[in-house]
């Protein structure tokens, strides 16, 4: 059952993408470890970190494409799930610091000592155990998405109204995490990490493993999303996107389907956040800012909504552009982003992959077609 489900996800496009990701994962780590610094093929640790970050963003984009591209749920709050996964990882990394902090407290992280706290809050208790922390990486975003989705989808909140409340959700979390008494480092967030599962987080070797893991999880996430999309459940999701009440009248409980896919997507976003934090070395409330979630939507739109692979390409392309642009013309990046937001849908309404797919009829499975004007039934 599981095997046939997973084999169903390996269509040509996904297969090629996974192969490319595997080559990148192996190639970059190999080049960083064994090629001389002078070699033209050498990837510096800085660049590897950068692309590791892009890969984490790409996983977030795949998660977002799963709900937006296939089920029509335009979440403008997916950054919240990403940040929650990041915080769960950050809390584990904080507990790993131990006595090496500024205040050398074996139990309490520095910011708690600074705030004169005497005891570890219950939220932090088991976070020194790696498996527990990893469970929380999945569980916390998943649980939030499940509860949020259950209420929103059962009450049949759709379209822009849903987008607005997802935006409100991430904004509320942003404000909450800014508060010191929440116990998550307030404004400064969590940083100064030392070790991850006993390995020095700054070491090149650790960073290579982190990079390879991120690319690996991206490939797994893509495979999983593709399997879901190619299953009968995926067809139901597209049916919901195109004609929600028709789907309901042929007997599908739309709210259940939306909740399931929203929760799976949130878990994927959480994993992306957890992979992001050890590579950038910090997690703070700004990750919850609504602009981040909107940027993620732009990545998917640029790459091609409802294509999965496009989400990856869009996330890497836009972020690469951002890095380059903010280096060359820092004050103009926001204008460039704005121009992208306007020009993208105008010139490439189906995104990079959607447009290429149309030209070469590459991977143009019928289910990949995004409706030009999703009309409600009746």
């Amino acid at each position: 059952m599981i095997t046939s489900f997973l084999l169903g996800g390996l269509d040509r496009k996904t297969g090629i993408a996974i192969l490319v990701l595997a080559l990148i994962g192996i190639g970059v780590t190999y080049s960083n470890a064994f090629l001389a610094d002078a070699s033209p093929l050498h990837v510096s640790t800085g660049n590897m970190l950068l692309f590791g970050k892009y890969a984490a963003y790409a996983l977030l984009a795949v998660a977002l494409d799963l709900v937006w591209g296939y089920c029509g749920i335009l979440s403008l709050g997916h950054g919240a799930f990403f940040a929650l996964g990041g915080y769960a990882m950050g809390m584990y990394l904080m507990r790993q610091i131990g006595t090496r902090g500024v205040y050398a407290n074996p139990i309490l992280p520095d910011f708690m000592v600074f705030l004169n706290w005497k005891e570890l809050p219950f939220t932090w208790v088991f976070f020194d155990h790696f498996p527990y922390a990893m469970l929380m990486v999945l569980l916390i975003p998943g649980l939030l998405a499940f509860v949020f989705g259950w209420f929103a989808f059962r009450s049949r909140v759709t379209g822009v109204y849903l987008s607005i409340i997802t935006q409100a959700m991430t904004y509320a979390l942003l404000l909450a995490f800014f508060r010191n008494d929440m116990g998550f480092g307030g404004n400064n967030g969590l940083t100064d990490f030392k070790d991850v599962v006993g390995y020095n987080i700054q070491a090149d070797s650790t960073r290579r493993v982190l990079f390879a893991l991120t690319v690996g999880f991206l490939a797994v996430g893509l495979w999983l999303a593709s399997s879901i999309v190619n299953s009968k459940l995926g067809k139901v999701l597209i049916a919901i996107r195109d004609a929600e009440s028709r789907t309901r009248f042929i007997g599908y409980r739309v709210a259940e389907y939306k909740t399931v896919v929203f929760t799976v997507s949130a878990c994927m976003a959480g994993v992306a956040g957890a992979l992001y934090v050890p590579q950038v070395g910090i997690i703070n409330p700004s990750e919850f800012s609504p602009a981040n979630s909107i940027e993620a939507v732009i990545w998917v739109a640029v790459g091609g909504r409802g294509t999965l692979v496009g989400a990856i390409i869009g996330a890497v392309a836009v972020n690469w552009g951002k890095t380059w642009f903010t280096g060359v013309l820092p004050e103009f990046w926001l204008f460039a982003l704005g121009a992208l937001f306007v020009a993208g849908p105008l010139l490439l309404p189906k995104g990079i992959v959607g447009t290429l797919g149309g030209l070469f009829s590459f991977g143009n499975r019928p289910s990949r077609v995004v409706p030009t004007s999703p009309e409600p039934a009746e």
């Binding site: 059952m1 599981i2 046939s4 489900f5 879901i228 299953s231 009968k232 459940l233 067809k235 139901v236 597209i238 049916a239 195109d242 004609a243 009440s245 028709r246 789907t247 309901r248 009248f249 042929i250 007997g251 599908y252 409980r253 739309v254 259940e256 389907y257 399931v260 019928p366 289910s367 077609v369 995004v370 409706p371 039934a377 009746e378």
Partner: protein, 250 residues
């Protein structure tokens, strides 16, 4: 209660209003098992509201709606009612445009509808055969692999009827199936509905097109301002002075 027991669909004194506008006022109607019924009425007579109530989209303010004499439809949601065996075709053809014709039917096919089983579903030989059968019933075998969005208006209507049949319903509610169809398509649709009726299903057809209703040749119910104005054969109804007044009097 005997009337209710021997019926597939039983409406008694159904009333509903929207912001003070009384869409239905004491609508009562009985559809027998295996019966085909045509419902006509001018705009605003409450035809679509009636369908909404039967399929669980709208809750009535008053009145009883029973399926097979015992199941109270006013307490169930759309999915539960669909599972009981009531299929509904919308006025505007509503199919899954970015799916193939075949996938449209596959999605409608009677099967476990929980997300878990749907995720791990694999097509069986039986299902494929059943889809082939349906395709030939609705005369779309040659277009099975095309996207539904590329079908003509009439073909979309047939596909939607096919999707209803795929659910293996006991009762089909069909809202204006021939609106916007050519005459030839209209006649084919009438033949298709008669075929469905002969296979033992109850069918309720809402329609404006009198030629089509004549072609169906079944008992007709005339709705007006949210209740039943007249009921009987097409000739009886057409000669009823009350009906003439409503249709021609203004």
């Amino acid at each position: 209660m005997d009337i209710a027991k021997n019926s597939i669909l039983y409406l008694d004194g159904v009333a509903v209003s929207f912001d003070g506008y009384k869409a239905l006022r004491g609508l009562s109607m009985v559809i027998g098992p295996g019966e085909m019924r045509a419902i006509i009425g001018p705009n605003g007579a409450g035809k679509t509201t009636m369908m909404d109530i039967i399929t669980g989209k709208t809750r009535p303010d008053e009145g009883e709606v029973l399926f097979e004499g015992s199941t109270d439809l006013t307490r169930l949601d759309e999915a539960e009612i669909a599972e009981l065996g009531i299929g509904r075709k919308f006025q505007k053809p509503t199919v899954f445009e970015s799916h193939t014709v075949r996938d449209n039917l596959l999605l409608a096919l009677k099967a476990d509808r929980t997300p878990f089983w749907t995720l791990f579903h694999r097509n069986t030989k039986d299902e494929d055969n059943r889809i082939d059968e349906l395709l030939s019933t609705i005369k779309l075998s040659h277009r099975a692999k095309d996207l539904a969005r590329n079908l003509s208006h009439g073909q979309k209507q047939w596909l939607e009827i096919g999707m209803l049949l795929a659910q293996e319903p006991k009762l089909l509610l069909v809202d204006e199936p021939v609106a916007g169809m050519t005459d030839a398509e209209t006649m084919e649709t009438a033949a298709l509905l008669r075929h469905i009726h002969k296979s033992g299903k109850s069918v309720v057809v809402v329609e404006h097109d009198m030629a089509f209703v004549r072609e169906l040749d079944v008992k007709v119910t005339v709705l007006h301002e949210g209740s039943v104005l007249s009921e009987g054969s097409i000739d009886h109804v057409a000669n009823d002075p009350k009906v003439i007044e409503v249709y021609l009097g203004r």
